[in-house]
Symmetry: C2
Subunit: 406 residues, 2 copies
């Protein structure tokens, strides 16, 4: 007997017809002899509407009340989905977070799941009943409803799969899997059959919102086999698995990009100990995350230029914070540029293959693309380039690493 968790996103449950369609996926899994637990998001648009009501009522929302309001969307789809499955002649019932319970910490609005009591649903699953669980919600130790933050239903599904020791966690969404690059730009992009958890985490920006980052982390930690696939056909998608499962290792699995970065350069900063801390300390206090950092000594040897990237949404705040501290930081000029894009080459194969970064730099140089900042991790090389080169860079790299569809 195989045990499967099936998770349906909001676009897959946007109306009654789509809920019925989702129930057919459940039916197929049941008919194939699986024990099935279902996790549902709210109908597309519902959570946004509830959030906007809460914001309209009060600028400073009480977090537990906010959660009581926004958690209601998943309660509705859980009940409707249970009915839709029953209508196909299959026993089913909904289990709200407080009924299991799904216990979380009490960080309302972005709670973390601590435990899921599966005693009762395991009994029902083995007896052939489908369990339908609202995603996104939990209950705190104080017995109040909590929510896991945007996209939290993916995390609910993976956590449930881990708690149930499920063999597979299918995440049904409106894309059919994870691609080697954004198919809207790189027409030769291929769908990947398998991808490692770590690559998925790095590729989070690929094929927007394929899988929420925290869910990928949870899957990695608990070794849950996750499949991302389309709710609107019946084809295999992309499986997230451990590195050991991917036998034929590719060196590079995908080319990702992010337009969400902005670059800040401080020229002529004094070359003395503690200067980096005095710049990044205030940014961190202002909740500005800094990503790539490069420091170059300038010609005179006594001063240096510092370049780093922040989120585009944080650029104004970052320049304000640094501007206020000019007398302490003693920089000459503050330059900022938001017409940049971060392009990343990702693959666990990099650990054992040399020359990946070199190939990237050479490919971009051949196309006349200037690299502004470089950063690397164990399985990723990222460069910051002018935004206008985005498409050219992605397509060239995709070809250079032999990722093009044949």
């Amino acid at each position: 007997m195989t045990r499967v968790v099936q998770k349906f996103g909001g676009t897959s449950l946007a109306d009654i017809e789509k809920i019925r369609n989702a129930a057919c996926h459940v039916q197929r899994a049941v008919n194939a002899g699986n024990e099935v637990a279902v996790v549902v998001s709210a109908m597309a648009g519902t959570t946004s509407k509830l959030v906007s009501w809460a914001r309209e009522i009060s600028a400073l929302q009480d977090a537990p009340e906010y959660d009581a309001v926004v958690a209601s969307g998943e309660q509705v789809t859980a009940g409707l989905m249970a009915m839709a499955i029953q209508a196909l002649g299959i026993p089913a019932r909904s289990w709200l977070a407080w009924q299991l319970p799904i216990l979380t910490d009490d960080v309302h609005g972005k709670a973390h799941i601590e435990s899921i009591d599966t005693t009762e649903i395991v009994q029902r699953l083995t007896a052939g009943e489908v369990a339908v669980i609202p995603g996104f919600q939990g209950v705190s130790h104080r017995n109040r409803l909590t929510t896991l933050g945007r996209g939290g239903s993916d995390a609910s599904a993976v956590a449930l799969a881990a708690a149930l020791h499920a063999d597979l966690c299918n995440i049904y969404t409106d894309v059919d899997g994870v691609y080697t690059s954004d198919p809207h730009i790189v027409t030769k992009a291929r769908k990947l059959d398998k991808i490692t958890y770590e690559e998925m985490l790095e590729m989070a920006s690929l094929g927007a919102n394929v899988l929420q980052g925290r869910a990928a982390e949870l899957a990695m930690r608990h070794n849950v086999v996750v499949q991302v696939l389309s709710a609107f056909d019946n084809l295999p998608g992309t499986q997230l698995v451990g590195e050991d499962v991917i036998v034929e290792q590719r060196v590079v699995s995908g080319i990702a990009y992010s337009r969400d970065e902005a670059k800040i350069t401080l020229t002529g900063i004094p070359d003395r100990p503690g200067i980096a801390a005095s710049i990044f300390g205030p940014l961190s206090e202002a909740s500005v995350n800094v990503d790539m950092i490069v420091q170059n000594a300038s010609d005179d040897g006594a001063s240096a230029d510092l370049t780093f990237t922040v989120g585009k949404v944080d650029l104004a705040r970052a320049t304000e914070v640094i501007g206020q501290a000019q007398d302490i930081l003693e920089y000459q000029e503050l330059l900022s540029d938001s017409n940049v894009v971060k392009v990343s080459v990702i693959g666990v194969g990099m650990r054992t293959h040399a020359g990946v970064a070199t190939k990237m730099f050479k490919t971009l140089a051949d196309k006349g693309i200037n690299i502004q900042v470089i950063s690397t991790s164990e399985i990723k090389v990222s460069v910051l380039i002018a935004e206008e080169y985005t498409e050219l860079a992605l397509r060239s790299l995709h070809t250079a690493y032999d990722l093009d569809e044949e």
Copy 2:
């Protein structure tokens, strides 16, 4: 210290602005030194939408799932109302049915409240915190959400007021009280300051949906002082009280009517024992409620005519059931008429004053209105007349019993 329950209906919570307006009623009560518990309906239209989704999914809905779906509307307004009260600087929190709990039987869709655990909210109320409770919902002994049936939020409010030993239960709605007759027809109708529970029960059809019948019953049983008033002004409404509280007793408190009745006459039925049971038995089995009943012996003495009323919606089913049993019932003819209206004169004063019925019959006769069926109870006289006389009958009776506004 006075303890007050305030209940707001769906039209009083239809949008964020109206929720804020309702919160102002709460604020006024708090500022006047009251302990306040609030019961909320779902936003107008929400429950109907949820019900229609459930119906669309499946003709045979699973009642517990149906309840999980439709109970969500009150959860949303409870959270929003708590936030709106907090935004006015008053401590508040929502208590969902399962959090108190509000324990009900497990008759899903029309559950009855068995008990409300008020231990925790009483502590909070005395500490100055407002408790916001979703109406309409409860939790069964099996730990599943239940709903109390349409209009159940009124019952929630009265049951909570009883459990809290509240001094007053204010039902805020979109009408400003209970009138001596329908003000749309009888322009001289007056708003009543006070009315007895029993009169309210009989007048349920007056001023459509002023208060749900079960709530009036509960109030009577637990002696809860209920006030029905408008959410959109700040004026006193109509108080429901015990008979002992109304010192200056009116003989007649109001003239009610119902267009929901239809008349069935069976002619020439054999005049033998058991014939009534053989007619009303099958109707009862078909869930057709029979209201007024009159039997007249016919000229020959061996047979009789039987006239009774059923709900207009049940007329087709009733004639079908009786038609199928013609060989057993041996009636000559089945006549039906749905162009009828039931007009009732209501007042606890009838118990001690004679001549109320006589005045009614005489008033109608003077206007040339023929009475088709009569039925009476301790505090009510009802007659069935042709529908076209509705307005004339109501206005004439209203004047005859000295109810007209001066």
